[in-house]
Symmetry: C2
Subunit: 188 residues, 2 copies
């Protein structure tokens, strides 16, 4: 079944690329390194992906999809509760996540910063779309929980999430998650 | 006057390095490129800076100092006014700054993201210290303007500033500055 094998190989390359890009950023990772980690030849890598830029775009696309699936898993968990508890749980998840060894913040935010000078890069478009998808999800959750002006509230929560990610990364102080959660609750 | 010339050369190298690092990030800029833009030989560059990592640390140190001088210029401008007006003016400055061609957010935040996997890098230490200095300045300004719980308020404003920087960069929508300003005012 060559097609199935092809899909598995493609997935192995995406996995390896994500792991390396997340760990070291985009510029410092070479295609050779991705191929080596995925246990494929460079020729095979280029059979599945036209370029390193294409590979990055596909990695981000796939990660953005996974992130949405991941956050949707919490919908039922939160839907029976109130908006303040939802916000508390949201920042608490982020705080737990940030304690993982090697945590480097949102991979999507990080890639966007690394490609700050390339607004037309396909990976940048995917990053922008992903942040909008997360915001729409937040607004939908808040609406279900009886909050008003959900578009603005969702933007505020997203601002605080991005801010907490940046300041936790820069200062190493995970307490920013608690300050952000408290602010988000007061803004509800 | 060899000493003066040495200082001027050193400054030219720092200027060139900042311009290139800000435009393209750290990993994609080579020492040759910095030397070429500063119109010095690579040998001269290495006479003033031991390594590219050292150069980056010194660039960030110098930029962090400039940023503090820059924000302090606004002290008199703001001190006669109230805290809400101070916050409005602060986010309005950031919004104006973000409209500049080639704007890529805070250079210090960007470098920290690029070096996310290297928490011990000297540039990371400088970035962390800089964010704390900005926060202390914010808390001091808020205190002068009669705000209470200034440490927490300063952290919230910084979370919103960092969040606005990230989301403006990622989505291209400068309206996040207005949402952040409004949230910061409501949190006062």
């Amino acid at each position: 079944m060559p097609r199935q094998t092809g899909e598995a190989t493609r997935r192995a390359i995406l996995d390896a690329a994500y792991e390396l890009f997340y760990r070291k950023g985009y510029a410092r990772v070479g295609v050779d390194e991705v191929a080596a980690l995925a246990k494929v030849t460079k020729r095979t890598l280029y059979y599945h992906f036209r370029s390193k830029d294409d590979l990055l775009a596909e990695v981000l696309n796939w990660q953005a999809q996974l992130a949405i699936v991941h956050i949707r898993k919490y919908e039922n968990k939160y839907s029976a509760r109130d908006a303040r508890k939802f916000v508390t749980a949201l920042f608490s998840e982020v705080k737990q996540w940030s304690a993982k060894p090697g945590w480097s913040g949102s991979g999507i935010t990080r890639l966007a910063w690394e490609l700050a000078d390339l607004p037309g890069h396909p990976a940048r478009q995917i990053a922008g779309q992903h942040k909008e998808d997360v915001q729409a999800w937040l607004a939908g959750m808040l609406a279900k929980l009886g909050v008003r002006s959900v578009r603005e509230r969702a933007k505020e929560i997203q601002l605080l999430l991005e801010g907490a990610g940046a300041l936790m990364l820069i200062t190493g102080d995970r307490g920013y998650c608690d300050v952000a959660a408290k602010a988000a609750r007061r803004l509800l």
